[in-house]
Subunit: 187 residues, 2 copies
DNA sequence: CTGTCCCTACCTGTCAATTGGTAGGGAGCG
DNA sequence: CGCTCCCTACCAATTGACAGGTAGGGACAG
């Protein structure tokens, strides 16, 4: 097969979790989408918690790739910062989905520990990248960079959440514009 | 009884939904908390969708009261804006819970239409209040007030989400500080 | 004052569907 | 043979929902 079942399971689980969260994942629906039987998923993932953790981990690993791609393609750090909101915009474009880890942040209380860890890692890699680029761009000093990075990350997650609740990408774009106008993001 | 069963159901459902979302609501657990049987809830709410809509509606109605209280107690609109983040902070203080409607915004795809309506109403009343106070404070003109209000609302919702995923109120406070430093919120 | 009627506020019992998870088997490959 | 990959056939628990019953109280006619 061109893609293994394990990869297909991860891909389908990612799509589902971005629309319905961790609690919205279930083995039968997932198996149908992949074209195998529910019990077969247990061959690759011993439990739902393991699957959830694997999906969340793969999710932030993919985001790291995207961030590195932006850095590689845009030598100008300001240009990188301009492109950053596009990552979250993509989820909305893709069937009004949202960031897996934002959804799971809401589900925090019901998440297995292994999944919580990966959700936090997602925020960490985003904040790390943002902090680095903010310093390069000279937007803030190294002391404030992490706080500002967190603020940008949280604000964009909130914008995505609000836009999703109206199924309105233009609302997302407007919020990003407002963040720039207000001074949270560079112009 | 001092409080009717209907009110007790609404209160318990609110507490649960703020921690586990709409999908986390279930009639048996709810009934146990109230001290009645699951079937009895149907006497007050014909379906889970009706219960969800009633809880979300009550939620934003209570927020309207809180906002009016802030306006009444603080003649200075800047002081009102300073106090606004406290509303979302309270949820975190209360067992690391989060805004009911932020949670439900994530669950958007699985929400009955009646519930969606109330979730959007929550955002509307917040944005309306913020927009009004922003104008009074002279932070922005009447043209930009709604956009800025939405930006503040979304950013604070995002801050709450991020703080919840770490069960860390200090993180929330830090984010609000950063919003002020960056110019999104008035100093 | 009394019997009838209907309402509110619950209850017991049950159902069908969905869920995460398990036991054990089989086909094919090295 | 042993390993990978996937299957059939289950199970127990949970869930939203429903049917039908009952205790108590108020209203009101006779």
């Amino acid at each position: 097969m061109s893609t293994s079942s394990k990869e297909a399971i991860l891909a389908a689980a990612k799509r589902t979790a971005m629309a319905h969260g961790y609690s919205g994942l279930n083995f039968r629906t997932l198996a149908d989408e992949v074209g195998i039987k529910a019990a077969s998923i247990y061959h690759y993932f011993p439990s739902k918690a393991d699957l959830g953790a694997a999906v969340a981990k793969r999710y932030w690993e993919d985001i790291v790739d995207d961030l590195e791609a932006i850095s590689a393609e845009s030598p100008d750090p300001i240009r990188c910062l301009h492109r950053y909101p596009g990552i979250f915009r993509t989820s909305l474009e893709n069937g009004n989905r949202m960031c897996l880890c934002s959804f799971m942040a809401a589900e925090y209380d019901d998440l297995p520990d292994a999944v919580k860890t990966e959700v936090q890692a997602f925020a960490d890699v985003n904040v790390a990248w943002l902090g680095r680029v903010l310093i390069e761009a000279g937007v803030v000093g190294s002391v404030e960079s992490e706080n500002r990075a967190r603020a940008i990350f949280a604000a964009i997650a909130g914008a995505q959440l609000m836009a999703r609740s109206r199924a309105d990408i233009a609302l997302y774009d407007g919020l990003i514009d407002s963040y720039r106008l207000a001074g949270l993001l560079p112009r």
